[in-house]
Symmetry: C2
Subunit: 239 residues, 2 copies
């Protein structure tokens, strides 16, 4: 089946081949069947907004395909990107559980497939399926962990250079794909967005990249970034 945005939709969770590698999705059969009955499989184009910070929670969004930008935004328009969510993550989970407003804004940056579940349905589902409830706790722990890292990076860094170095190392570690010594990674974000991830200005990011290139620490062709001196980066990231 083909969706409006050129995505091949995985119609049913029961037959989803990716299920097992995903912390939330890999449920026992009975729970999965119940989940199947309350979820709505949907698709979004790039740039769609799933929910906005401050809205009262309509429900959860299980990300099946594509990436979603999770951000907060100040009254004066400044934006901070907390993370780029990957497939398998459950978005809007904590707000849906607690009933408090969504604390983040979720915006797709790829065409995405998403399973939406209404809040009431989801809460009922959790009451009836203790094992799913535990998965939720795990997901929330993960998110909390993530937020703590963000706090650490924002609160304990002395300079923007330090934060950028941390970010690059994290990315290179994530894409893990061997190349321990000289990892290469796709730069899928603009300088502006990177700035929003580390809480600094676009110009500063540009200048930092320029300096890193001059010092032969990184090297770029097209949108690919090659880390030539991981040790130096680690040093910059603060010992």
């Amino acid at each position: 089946m083909l969706s409006p945005y050129g995505l091949e939709i995985v119609e049913s969770c029961l037959t989803c081949k990716l299920r097992e590698e995903r912390i939330f999705c890999d449920l026992p059969n009975s729970a999965l069947q119940a989940f199947e009955n309350i979820k709505y499989a949907t698709a979004y184009p790039k740039g769609a907004v799933l929910f906005v910070e401050g809205q009262s929670p309509r429900g959860i969004f299980v990300l099946c395909k594509g990436r979603v930008k999770m951000s907060i935004c100040s009254t004066d328009g400044k934006t901070l990107i907390l993370k780029i969510a990957e497939p398998g993550e459950v978005l809007g989970l904590s707000a849906t559980v607690s009933g408090k407003p969504y604390e983040l804004t979720a915006e797709t940056i790829d065409p995405c497939q998403v399973n939406f579940v209404k809040r009431e349905d989801f809460l009922r589902f959790l009451k009836e399926h203790g094992d799913a409830c535990f998965r939720v706790a795990e997901q929330l722990s993960e998110k909390y962990n993530n937020a703590c890292h963000e706090v650490r990076s924002l609160g304990l860094s002395h300079s923007a250079a330090e934060k950028l170095a941390k970010l690059l190392l994290e990315w290179s570690g994530r894409n893990g794909e061997a190349a321990k010594l000289e990892p290469r990674l796709k730069l899928a974000l603009t300088h502006e967005e990177i700035a929003q991830m580390i809480g600094t200005s676009r110009e500063t990011v540009t200048r930092l990249f320029a300096e890193l290139k001059k010092r032969q620490i990184i090297q770029s062709k097209g949108s690919t970034l090659l880390i030539r001196n991981k040790a130096a980066l680690k040093l910059m990231a603060g010992a």
Copy 2:
């Protein structure tokens, strides 16, 4: 019964009168009985360290009495206080659920009564009591929410003044006790600690307080702080 540190210990959760106001503790009877069997009631003096960031999780600490300082710390000794935990909170929860290292350090700032539960016992307890599991999810949501606020404050503020104003407003709101117009609150922390809460230096905090007093926005006698111009504070906190 009297504990080593002058605390009157509440021996059993079953008879604890404070239970109902607490998000985690107010469990159905069967779960509570089970919890009772696996918990260890303990007491700590002021300044005790419950766990340290990076340790692998031994279990959870349910705070019954007293306050606990939750912080992270950088390699160069800089400390950031994320929050002061109050009775009813479950500390070390996300690490215990996920199995990843504690992400924070917990240090008592009062004599404290704490119920400790070993990780294996707690996980088993969760598997067997779906309702408790849901409480855990709620607690984690709460914590996540908190962390998001911290991120917002650290990442989206333009100045230390803004962050201090936000903190004071939050405190005055917390202690709620009427006095809408001119809240007064006990300043239980040193300038150093306040600095660590908003990620700035001790001197900056001192200077900011001096300026707030000069501008008649606050006023202090002893350790009591009186907010004389809440509107001005709100303005400083960023619209």
